[in-house]
Symmetry: C3
Subunit: 220 residues, 3 copies
């Protein structure tokens, strides 16, 4: 996996930046920026290492990842006000992050388990988890609930990588780059053109209040 | 634990279905359904394996669990519109899920630690965690905050199993089935009759806004 | 680490109390109190042990921690109504908890990795995680988003401990107590005097609705 280890740093760094941007939207102090950068940056990879049983996790073995997160938090703290739309930047950085992470997750999952199914799920889980942690702690609507394509992009990246790794027609670095590019292209199309998959649209779920009113759920 | 391994599949499958139902309430696309089904289905068991140190976790060792989650997500995507009240179905499936999971969690906890206390807590934790992950990511009020009996049912199931396992009067399969049935019966009674435990009702917590108004907490 | 193992019990106990106080604000039943006390009390230490690869986690090896959480849940259930402002008590107990936990986390992180960076991050992560889990499940605004100093206090405690441990001028118990006191002093000052760090205040993040209105994010 060494040939594309740098994808891991890219994933950690851009996710850290999205975490710091959330901290700026919440008007936290410097340490709040660093904390959000670190939790978001290392969240997905930490879950990946835990479920695969590769402990201590990657940033305990290689603390430089933590330095990267802290630096990113620091930089965003002093520059975020220069950005016109921080949420738009956040979404695009998040797109780069999921592209890098779904490949790294799939690669580590494939190496650890040998199973294509496990590799694809580890890739998807790794790519989506950091953003979920970030949005949940910040109390914002999770990016996974947005209407445009999101999870599908991580599936595409992980599946392309696993397929390419099985075919063994390219050097590992090329496999990883093609897969990451595929994932990014899908998510970028979703962000730019508003691509959506055919969604389930029968009707939205009723709120708890409506359910109580209609006697489906008991009132407190 | 093999005699009742099927309880694990039941737990994963019905929790996956509740995850997919939440995805339908949020009008996600197909991959959103599969993603929610997988995270909810394997969430509790993943936490269980992690804290007990049994890594890689169960679905890395046996990827068929993931196939089950994906299939359930697919089925719910195409059939959820047929259901009159998806939230009601969700609550009942959740009841089956916690009954199956609290027993599996207690069994694995007992096997790994030999401690009845650890076994009961692992059972309760396993049973409640998937639903909490599901509700938190979806941004819905957690099922654990509902007024009717919930956590108590998982305690009953886990405690009955541990007691039965200590008495060694029955084959393991019977112990597991009786314990799961006990947990389900308690939760079903809560859902159907609105059973509640004597709750703490002195007064509800003040909101942050009220606390600020009354000078107890500083305003931002 | 044995000389200050009691700090771990203090951290677990006071975090358990804050979890139970949240349960009282949500008017849960007795088991709800115990459940919240346990998840909050052992949350941070569980994450710490997982990322460091020290599994099974501490409460599986030493179930007495679970008994402590259950007892605390029980006591709070019967006494919470006596407290004038439960949220204020919660914030002060939380301050004691993060002071104890950031030192234990740093100590275990230093022992496991030998890296000061890892030790400080493990300390901060351990100290903040329990409260985040508690607030997230309860659906309340996370304590980490509050304006007064919070994360900074955990950094101070962890950094003082690591520095003292490197200097080796004192017995371990003294190092731990000084570090915990430093963290508590910073957080106490924040609570009592409303201390804040220079925050990022350029402008608050726009809500999703505003972003849609301004055409920055597509509407659903």
């Amino acid at each position: 996996m060494e040939p594309f280890q740098f994808l891991d740093y890219i994933g950690v760094a851009v996710f850290a930046a999205t975490g710091a941007l959330v901290a700026s939207r919440k008007q936290l102090d410097l340490l709040g920026f660093v904390w959000f950068a670190a939790f978001t940056g290392i969240g997905g990879g930490t879950l990946r290492d835990l479920v695969l049983g590769q402990t201590p996790v990657f940033w305990v073995k290689e603390p430089f990842y933590l330095i990267v997160c802290a630096l990113i938090g620091l930089i965003v703290f002093f520059t975020a006000h220069l950005v016109e739309s921080r949420y738009r930047v956040l979404l695009w950085l998040d797109a780069v992050g999921i592209a890098a992470y779904c490949v790294m997750g799939a690669a580590k999952g494939l190496e650890a388990s040998g199973s294509a199914t496990v590799a694809i799920v580890t890739g998807m889980m790794t790519a989506t988890f950091g953003g979920i942690v970030r949005d949940t702690i910040a109390g914002e609507k999770s990016v996974i609930l947005r209407p445009e394509i999101y999870v599908t992009a991580t599936l595409v990246g992980a599946a392309v990588f696993v397929l390419a790794a099985r075919l063994e027609m390219m050097p590992p670095l090329a496999e990883a780059l093609i897969a990451a590019f595929a994932a990014f292209a899908v998510r970028a199309g979703a962000l730019h053109f508003g691509w959506t998959m055919p969604g389930y649209r029968a009707r939205a779920g009723r709120t708890e209040a409506e359910l109580q009113e209609q006697g489906i759920v008991r009132e407190d």
